[in-house]
Symmetry: C2
Subunit: 235 residues, 2 copies
DNA sequence: ACCTGAACACCGTTCAAGT
DNA sequence: ACCTGAACACCGTTCAAGT
């Protein structure tokens, strides 16, 4: 059921490959689409390029740097929505970003951890900040708000990607976070978890995306009402 | 500069160790305090207990399960604040949780990824939910809000833990996210990142904790004003 | 029945040696 | 000068064999 070792093998490129940062990231993305980002390792990328792992370090500083590069390349495909109210455009852009993370296995988890600084990611940040400014949000608030919005969407995507890792889905197995929580509540009992036990149904309701949608709304609603702390600029 | 292979070696326990889930987690925590959670591996825990890695799998299902167990044990030390307004108590409890994540190297990053379901973590969730209910927040909103609050604090702790991994600190080095962002903005230029370039100072201001503090306030402010979507309970 | 030695199948990263 | 083979120092997990 598993493909042979090199999904991008010399069969696809009979001539010697040119070897460049671009080529490395290309191969990494192909590998990710085929098997998920956590199988995109220095050694596998090197193997797909018919060379040793040391060669990759000429173009990319580390494995996490490679993963960050992949994320940035993928994010570069996002387009800023044009029509409609600024809140709707924020929601559309965040939705598109979430969908992007969702279609590339393992990418969301990585994005949750890396704090990416590539040009495309900064472009996304800038676009969202622009929309908030358009909505009259003050720049300092706006930046922190964008931070938070991206975090929420990324976390939702990572959570949504949780269950079946390779298989279709494994109900009740480890990885089924919802069932684990339900079991945990039952195990502790209503004495130790009075509020959770009383409201378990509503507390565990909704998909990660529904939750994220509400959270985004709540953040936007709250941002306009919360003043910044004193410390605003640091030298 | 590096300690010998087993920080918890047979020198500390000259007699045969009893071997139990408790003992395994104890050793894991000791190892984490000494070297950080990402050095808490099955093999090292096994070595510290003078046995082979296979033995650990009798008590813990996997490495991430072990890390989750460590988190839960550490969180169990949190106490719910008693006096004051509910908002202040929420903030105090979140602050304590953040400080906890902050004092154990590598723990925040792990917490960001695992979605823990241990009794202590559920207890923290329950306590926060209780405080929101006390503040008149509706249970469904409250649960999603607690989710978001914990996410924000965890992400702040993970970000704060970024810079010097082993060394004191390495300014300008990879890992200095702030400098990387600044460099990225400069590299793209004000044409491609108009809003970020215009507001770079204020956008990059504040520590992760200051940012998280504001975000928590904004979330609490927004939660009271955002209605739930239609889907509330699922069977 | 319960535990574990040894093996399998991988990793990231470095550096001395080659072209 | 630039690239990389080979080595170093690890991993998680499994399973057949031991007690």
């Amino acid at each position: 059921m598993q493909a042979p070792t090199s999904p991008v093998s010399r069969r696809e490129r009979p001539t010697k490959p040119p070897l460049s940062k671009e080529a490395v990231v290309d191969v990494a993305i192909a590998l990710m689409r085929a098997e998920g980002l956590d199988r995109v390792t220095m050694r596998r990328v090197a193997a797909a390029l018919d060379t040793g792992p040391a060669s990759i370090y000429v173009y990319v500083a580390s494995t996490v740097a490679l993963h960050a590069e992949v994320l940035d390349r993928v994010v570069a495909d996002l387009a800023v929505p044009e029509g409609g109210a600024w809140q709707d455009r924020v929601q559309q852009l965040l939705h598109a970003y979430g969908a992007l993370l969702d279609t590339h296995r393992g990418l969301a988890r990585s994005a949750l951890v890396v704090r990416p600084t590539g040009p495309a990611m900064l472009g996304l940040f800038d676009a969202l900040l622009g929309l908030l400014l358009e909505g009259g949000v003050e720049p300092g608030r706006g930046s922190w708000c964008v931070d938070l919005l991206l975090l929420v969407v990324t976390a939702a995507a990572a959570e949504h990607a949780e269950p079946g890792r390779d298989d279709v889905d494994a109900p009740g197995e480890p990885g089924d976070g919802l069932a684990a929580v339900r079991a945990g509540i039952a195990a502790s009992g209503p004495d130790r978890l009075p509020h959770l036990a009383a409201h378990a149904d509503v507390a565990l309701s909704g998909t990660p995306w529904q939750r994220a949608g509400w959270q985004v709304q709540a953040i936007l609603a709250g941002a306009a009402r919360s003043p910044l702390p004193e410390t605003e600029v640091r030298p």
